[in-house]
Symmetry: C2
Subunit: 203 residues, 2 copies
């Protein structure tokens, strides 16, 4: 399988961690892919993902699958099913909702990068970045006060939470989050040391 | 069940159309909810969804479920399963990938609204809106050339496509899409007339 990839994307990392945890990492061939609002990668947009977002997966049968959550759903099924995403019951929608939250927080963090680095200085709007930070902080407080969302074996929600925390460390080292989230800090000290995370650290 | 709702959101509409197609519309109580980057709705963010995005669902058991795709997954299961999202096989990831694409196009369209209406004039950046439009156009061309993604009974992907097209008509009537997408235009003329769509038209 071919995974369209960039080493800094928290969404790509989610898929790579999921694959490693499922024992499927060796099946992925990484295809380095550059996407940016400033350079429209039309070859990728026209043939793989019109949204020009990564990751996307091309299966051994040639099917194109995206976004990162859908790829993880596919990999989970390939590994037998129900390992990262419960197949039924309240825990299914708990995990999927935690995933939607952590994934949206990753999106907010990437949006702050666009606002403060990619966008021309004259066209920046502090309120946008402030508002996205506020969502991230509220989300961190939610995870801090819902330890069940990260407890136990890794699932799609907790993997994505780990990728978010790693992305905050990577891109926003000057905006510490550990002091206000000691339980998450302890969890990530352990989880981030797992081979699946250690081998996919952004950089 | 309580659905946090706004009549203009394509993401809320997706859930309402899905519920109607599944015969569950009567089970939803709509809770009008205002969210905006300019007014931080903290009551909603602190108790329902830290991302301050709609929709969110509170089930009869009190569980909070979001985002729109996860709510549709829940409603589909409630209706017996496999009706809007195939449970297995290549068609599962085809539908989920079409959904990710149409959902991302809705996100691009909302992002254009933020750029051109919400953001202060001095802080607008034409390249951002142009780039988002380019993604939408590329996605429309993809759906136009992949009629199988909208053929047959409605599923999560084609419902979301319909919500996108309705949102383009609602917010961007001066940017016509039908001339370049005749097959989609014909499909939406039929699909948009279904009660599930007709009764949830944005406005």
């Amino acid at each position: 399988m071919k995974l369209y990839h960039a080493p800094t994307s928290p969404f790509v990392r989610k898929v790579r961690v999921a694959a490693a945890e499922l024992g499927l990492a060796d099946r992925l061939t990484l295809e380095p892919t550059h996407v940016s609002p400033l350079e429209r990668n039309r070859a990728y947009g026209d043939t793989i993902n019109p949204l020009r977002k990564i990751p996307a997966l091309v299966t051994d049968d040639g099917a194109v699958i995206h976004d990162s959550g859908v790829i993880c759903d596919y990999l989970d099924a390939l590994a037998g099913g129900g390992r990262l995403i419960p197949t039924a019951g309240p825990e299914r929608w708990q995990v999927l909702t935690a995933h939607a939250l952590a994934d949206g927080m990753c999106g907010a963090a990437v949006s702050i990068r666009y606002e403060t680095v990619v966008r021309p200085e004259a066209a920046r709007w502090a309120n946008w970045a402030d508002d996205q930070w506020d969502r991230i902080r509220t989300g961190l407080a939610w995870f801090e006060s819902h330890p069940e969302a990260s407890a136990g074996p890794l699932d799609l929600g907790s993997i994505t939470l780990g990728c978010l925390l790693g992305y905050l460390d990577f891109r926003f080292a000057d905006t510490p989050w550990r002091d206000s989230c000691p339980a998450l800090a302890a969890w990530f000290a352990d989880t981030g040391a797992r081979p699946s995370f250690a081998e996919t650290k952004p950089g």
